[in-house]
């Protein structure tokens, strides 16, 4: 194990960088973070569209949510990677393909979480804000969404962690993220698959555990300043 880490540790962490493309754990983190940062606002936007009074806004999002729920992410990645270029005539990079697929998928799932959060919030909250004269946008920003994010934090974190783990599907289109690197190492070393995939498991666990703990700390902090939140989550 020590020997393995000594030889391949850096490869696990950053892939072939700086002599080749960035890969390994660094690429996984980068991909996961980029997906979260883009999917989250997309999810909020999609949720608002799905709750819109206008059917023209509601319908496409509803359709997207059903399509995303009804297909495996892996299949979408295949489609994006093999069929998109033949349509557009341009080759899409592996990173961009993965990022697009993850953002679309998680955007749709997050939209459902946020929608549930908004619908679960008492109607009176919006009515109170609007009858003070606050606009739709200010009401969302100052009254509705802060409460939705707090109430839905556990579900949001679930989705974030799922996203992080889904980056491993990049393996299938040759993106040199952590899982790809592990399988490369394994095919070179051959005799230590348990150790190699053990390292892989530990690295994923550390990432997801870290994210979960971070979210838990946020919850605790929210509870410290806000007894309503503490009561609701006791």
């Amino acid at each position: 194990m020590i020997e393995l880490l000594r030889t391949y540790g850096v490869y696990f962490l950053i892939g072939q960088f700086p002599h080749g493309p960035l890969g390994g754990l660094a690429l996984t983190v980068l991909l996961g973070a980029a997906a979260l940062v883009l999917a989250f606002p997309l999810g909020v936007l999609l949720a608002l569209m799905r709750l819109s009074a206008s059917a023209a806004l509601r319908w496409p999002v509803t359709a997207l949510v059903y399509v995303v729920r009804g297909t495996p992410l892996l299949m979408v990645i295949f489609w994006a990677y093999f069929f998109l270029p033949s349509l557009t005539g341009q080759k899409t990079g592996q990173f961009a393909t993965m990022l697009a697929a993850l953002v679309l998928f998680d955007g749709a799932y997050l939209a459902e979480v946020v929608r549930a959060g908004i619908q679960g919030l008492a109607r009176g909250q919006t009515e109170a804000a609007r009858s003070l004269g606050l606009s739709y946008a200010t009401t969302l920003q100052r009254v509705v969404l802060p409460q939705v994010f707090r109430n839905m934090l556990p579900s949001l974190v679930n989705q974030f962690v799922t996203t992080l783990k889904d980056t491993s599907l990049g393996y299938i289109i040759g993106l040199q993220e952590l899982s790809f690197v592990a399988s490369q190492v394994n095919s070179q070393v051959v005799v230590h698959p348990v150790a190699i995939y053990g390292i892989l498991a530990l690295l994923y666990f550390a990432l997801c555990f870290g994210l979960s703990r971070f979210a838990y700390a946020l919850e605790r902090r929210a509870a410290r300043v806000d007894p309503e939140f503490r009561a609701a989550n006791a």
């Binding site: 009515e127 109170a128 609007r130 606050l134 100052r142 806000d226 309503e228």
Partner: protein
């Protein structure tokens, strides 16, 4: 100041407001009462357009409230609305509940908004709880904060939708005292309530609603001493002594 003309409102096929015509004058205190489901809340909620209407016209200060081009946010900021369920923002402190609207709508600085909010909180006797969160307050305290939150916009009109119905009995008084104080300051008030003692004490006029219509209207004295309709008399009798009725309860 508030002018209803032939207002009709339906929920699906249910006729919630039936041809309502009524005028509330500036500085007047009007209590709206009636059995549940009679349209009292719907009526008061159409005034600041929390509910749309299907026909007729509502004017506030000469402004057609349900006109399509109206600047609804600006209009609403001139009408204070107090809910049965208080609807304080649970993630903000008492003070932050009261500064949100003035900062966003009146362009006040944080410090100015704070000063004015504290002044209003003081008026309702809640200044010492400025840094508490709503969940730490009793129902009566929450409702007083809700009133202060509406007052910081200096609205000439205040609407109350059953402000004491969700309160434990011993907290009703503290809220009614605050509302009475506003009435004495000359504000235009419309209050949906079953507190007939309060109505007698504070209201200039009382409207009695039944099945979407204003069945009876009169000065407070007329209303309580000489109610015209049998339905009103029965309602008043039921409210005064629910066990004293001689006839079996009838529908509606």
């Amino acid at each position: 100041m508030i002018d209803f003309r032939n207002v009709n409102k339906y929920y699906g096929r249910y006729h919630a407001l039936v041809d309502v015509t009524e005028t509330v004058a500036r500085g007047e205190v009007v209590v709206v009462c009636g059995p549940s489901g009679s349209g009292k809340s719907t009526l008061i909620r159409t005034i600041n357009r929390l509910e749309e209407i299907d026909s007729g016209r509502i004017e506030v200060d000469g402004q057609d409230v349900h006109r399509s081009g109206i600047d609804i946010n600006r209009f609403r900021s001139g009408i204070g609305f107090v809910f049965q369920q208080f609807n304080l923002f649970p993630h903000r402190t008492v003070l932050d509940n009261c500064t949100l609207a003035p900062v966003h709508l009146r362009g006040l600085s944080g410090a100015e908004a704070r000063d004015q909010a504290l002044q209003m909180l003081n008026r309702v006797g809640m200044a010492d709880k400025a840094n508490a969160f709503p969940a730490q307050l009793s129902g009566g305290q929450q409702q007083r904060v809700a009133i202060a939150r509406a007052l910081v916009m200096h609205p000439p009109i205040m609407l109350f939708d059953e402000p004491t119905s969700a309160l434990d009995p011993e907290m009703v008084g503290e809220v009614l005292l605050v509302i009475r104080d506003l009435a004495h300051r000359g504000m235009t008030l419309v209050c949906v309530t079953h507190e007939m003692g309060f109505a007698r004490d504070v209201a200039d006029r009382v409207l009695f609603m039944d099945r979407g219509r204003i069945l009876e209207r009169g000065t407070t004295r007329e209303f309580f001493d000489h109610p015209q309709h049998e339905r009103t008399r029965r309602f008043l009798a039921d409210i005064r002594s629910p066990f004293g009725r001689t006839d079996p309860p009838s529908g509606g």
